[in-house]
Symmetry: C3
Subunit: 108 residues, 3 copies
């Protein structure tokens, strides 16, 4: 057992309104994500209206950021799962490359 082997994964940072936390974590868990971390009480300024085609600023909306790390093959299903939600609600998903010091915590 070698903890020093880094595993290459995809980091997802999902920013959305806090009232939708359970929706998001349920979706992640159904996709096979077993671990995530949530940063609470973010503030932000964003542009909503992707669905309606205009920009609506929401100052000081109560946002959370859900951070997780998944294997690459989980990224597309998770994005597809969130797509209808983000057509209707404020938020964004950042995807980036990371290495993690142990895989067990985030296996999909």
């Amino acid at each position: 057992m070698n903890n020093l082997n880094l595993s290459t994964l995809k980091k997802l940072e999902i920013i959305l309104e806090g009232e939708h936390q359970a929706f998001a974590t349920d979706l992640l868990e159904r996709a096979g994500v077993t671990g995530y971390t949530i940063v609470n009480h973010l503030s932000g300024k964003g542009s909503h209206g992707f669905h309606e085609g205009h920009v609506m600023f929401n100052e000081d909306s109560v946002l959370i950021m859900i951070i997780t790390a998944v294997s690459e093959e989980l990224v597309q299903p998770i994005l597809e799962g969130f797509a209808p939600f983000f057509n209707e609600h404020t938020g964004v998903i950042f995807v980036s490359d990371i290495q993690v010091n142990r895989l067990v915590k985030f296996q999909g």
Copy 2:
């Protein structure tokens, strides 16, 4: 309209003292940034004194982190805009590659 197309952008994570939040978001907005998220109430230990040439530790300074995603051509103007500020104040800007699930929210 396909939300699943990921756009490659640059993520900026700007860590600075909370009292300078308005300066930073004004600078971002003038640069064309329309959305950002702020993590409040960070604590930190850093080395100030880039300007004066010595290291001064500030335990428990009240920091914020402003997270945004911009197109690559905005990175340099934003860094140039912040350069005089960071010659005088504690903080740092992290720049990294990310993909975002929709572009509209962060168009510069």
Copy 3:
């Protein structure tokens, strides 16, 4: 002196239970890390039991995330320093590539 030169570093995001903050920052400082930022009051769901070989969920554990940027040669010693800890405790280290707008703050 050109603040606009970006330095390529490794970003470490260390997520662990808040009660172990001093252990972690002491380890980082002994490794030569002079600056870091801490996001407090995270919540999370993870899988512990890497050591014992089974999964134990901990809802709402009080987590922190320590963010720092180090030169590449510091990554392996820091991971080695944390390895025994993460065999016993919940948490993870994310490693990613970043560029930083000034090097002085994070020199190892």
